[in-house]
């Protein structure tokens, strides 16, 4: 049984539990009437039971969400595999769907071999699908961004691409403020910072 079908707890997953996991915070309202049952039953082409193929596709997905950074695409995709987040149970489906969108948008189902522009089009198509598919794509984008920009796998590394050091590196007080700071200040209305 594939990881998707096993679900996060390793057992076969009922629809109710799958709905709950997809909600992240438990919001069932996001699922409208067009929930594709195949998401929960793990129905996707047998190619996407190949974990290596799935990984190549998702690495390419992550590289499209945060393009061209020197993180290594496998690192960018790491939050998707993190079992703390519910998406890890649906990666086979996501990869298969990216392949399908790539085929319809660009004529080639090999999402991971497309140009970044074509991958972008395929992801756009997934986001326009609505319902559970849109939520999967949105959640995957969200996780990749959080993992990269917040640098949350390494407190000390931060995110050099945005000049975020992560853990504080002490500098001089001059780094935190400006000389002649009083020239920036407006008239104060209160007393000691408090309004009357």
């Amino acid at each position: 049984m594939s990881a998707a079908r096993r679900g996060a707890n390793g057992r076969g997953m009922g629809r109710r539990e799958a709905l709950r996991l997809l909600g992240l915070a438990g919001g069932a309202a996001m699922l409208g009437g067009c929930t594709p049952v195949r998401v929960f039953m793990g129905w996707y082409p047998s190619d996407f039971r190949d974990d290596q193929l799935v990984r190549r596709v998702l690495d390419a997905f992550a590289d499209t969400v945060v393009p061209g950074v020197d993180a290594g695409s496998e690192k960018l995709a790491r939050p998707l595999y993190d079992e703390r987040f519910p998406l890890h149970g649906y990666l086979n489906y996501l990869a298969a769907d990216l392949s399908r969108r790539a085929k319809y948008a660009c004529g080639d189902p090999r999402f991971h071999l497309l140009s970044r522009a074509d991958r972008t089009r395929a992801i756009d198509a997934g986001l326009r699908a609505g319902g559970t598919t849109e939520r999967l794509y949105t959640g995957a984008i969200f996780l990749v961004q959080l993992g990269f920009f917040a640098g949350f796998y390494d407190d000390g590394a931060g995110c050099p691409a945005i000049d975020f050091d992560g853990r504080y590196r002490p500098g001089s007080p001059a780094d935190r403020t400006y000389a002649l700071a009083e020239e920036f200040l407006a008239e104060e209305l209160g007393h000691g910072g408090n309004h009357a």
Binding site: A25, G27, R135, L146, A150, G151, D155, D163, E182, L185
Partner: protein, 510 residues
Amino acid sequence: METRLTDVLVVGSGFGAAPPALRLAEAGLRVVVLEKGPDIDAPGDFRQTQDPGYFLRYYHGSAGDHLGMTWIEGLGGGSGFYEMVSLRAPSPAFEARDGNGRRLWPSGVDRATLDPYYEIAERMLNVQQIPVERVPRSGLVFSRMMKNLGYSCDRAAYAVRGCRGSGFCVSGCIYGAKQSLHMNYIPRAREAGAEYRTGVEATSVRALGPDERPARYEVTCRDAGGRVHAYRAAVVVLAGGTVGTARLLLASRRGLRHLSGEVGRRVAFNGGVKTAGRLGPGWPDGDMFTGQSHPGMISYHFLESHGVTIQAAKPLPLQAIAAARLRFDENGPGSRYWGEPHLRLMRKYRRRVIVLFALGLTPATARLERDGDDLKPRLEMTDELREYYGRTKELLHAIYRGNGCRPLDVEFVDSGGMARDDVFFSTTHQLGSCPMSESAESGVVDAAGAVHGHPGLYVSDGAALPGSIAVSTSLTILANAERIAEGLVRRYAGGAASAAEPDASSRAAA
């Protein structure tokens, strides 16, 4: 079921719990404090991190369609994780009225009566106005924006001693500089004999009969291992926050027969409106990542005219992305919040983006409703609130534009990253749900924090405060709790006799 006796049981360990626990212990009473969340050994347990798993250990939330609330469960409550902002509620906040024209705050509770208790709280937390030379760059940029337009802007005040300017206030201060309750109230209360128990959730309260005196209440609890036990106490002080205290009281209706029907209602949320803008050419850089987390400044300029204060903010990357999608507006509404355009924006985030937000005197019209085991905030999106939101957002955008800066397109998201499609207020400043009032018909507790109809049972946290205050709520919760604690000491610890007579319903209950 094991049952323990104590003089005073305090439920919760945050700003509302600290004064009752300390003052009653210092007065010689046996005090037990129950905290649902985990123990925090500060500052050692804090981390400078963006790891969601760390935050989710302490941060909790609940959201409805138009309002989301966040609170902390852990020893010390919100004090470990807030931005140290310590401001007194402005006088106009105490003039708020409900839809029938009645003052929300009970007579005798206003800024003047709270001022002596604010002083006590400020001394305990070492609250100081930030010196000019410590204002972070983003705060200086904000102040200049206001100055350019002829608006006032004040340096704010903070509960801090020896700030390093690391910018990680919201994940807890690893230096012990932030004067969270772990640095003052809690150790002093322990020295005075108060017992703190963490990982223990109070699940219900019931009034005891006269033959059980001196104990008046039995509080059933469940510890982290699922073991159920109880405390009996003469005085019970509830300080679990707007959501926690309401949840406990709602679960206790059977045991508290005179409980007001207003529990869970009249919730205020400080009307936060958040925006972001891009600094125009010629502007000096801000800095989202260095200097203390809160940028040091607050403007009261629009309090009288618009009912709002305005501040800048410095969200770290996790906080920024988890809250909203940002786009350069020149890319148009169809631009992507991911991919190349978003990366281009994020490269400028640290120094060229400025976040302004307003807090407002919005009416206490939200309520908490059961949703399974949860309490969810419900807020009716009235025309008045929509107009407030739009007017306030436009005020902030005008500040950007008036300074040659450009507002960014900001789309707020839920916890799964999905965009919200309507006006949504998110807050950590929730107040009310068990508000002070002159009678049980219009609130839950009286001006002394005593639950109407149930002598010996008190609410001393933000749940008791009946209206928005347009500034950070921590100092007001703490000051009001000092005021309530003074009354408790006077009444129960043999101080000067000034206790009010119980009202008719409580005499019947006794």
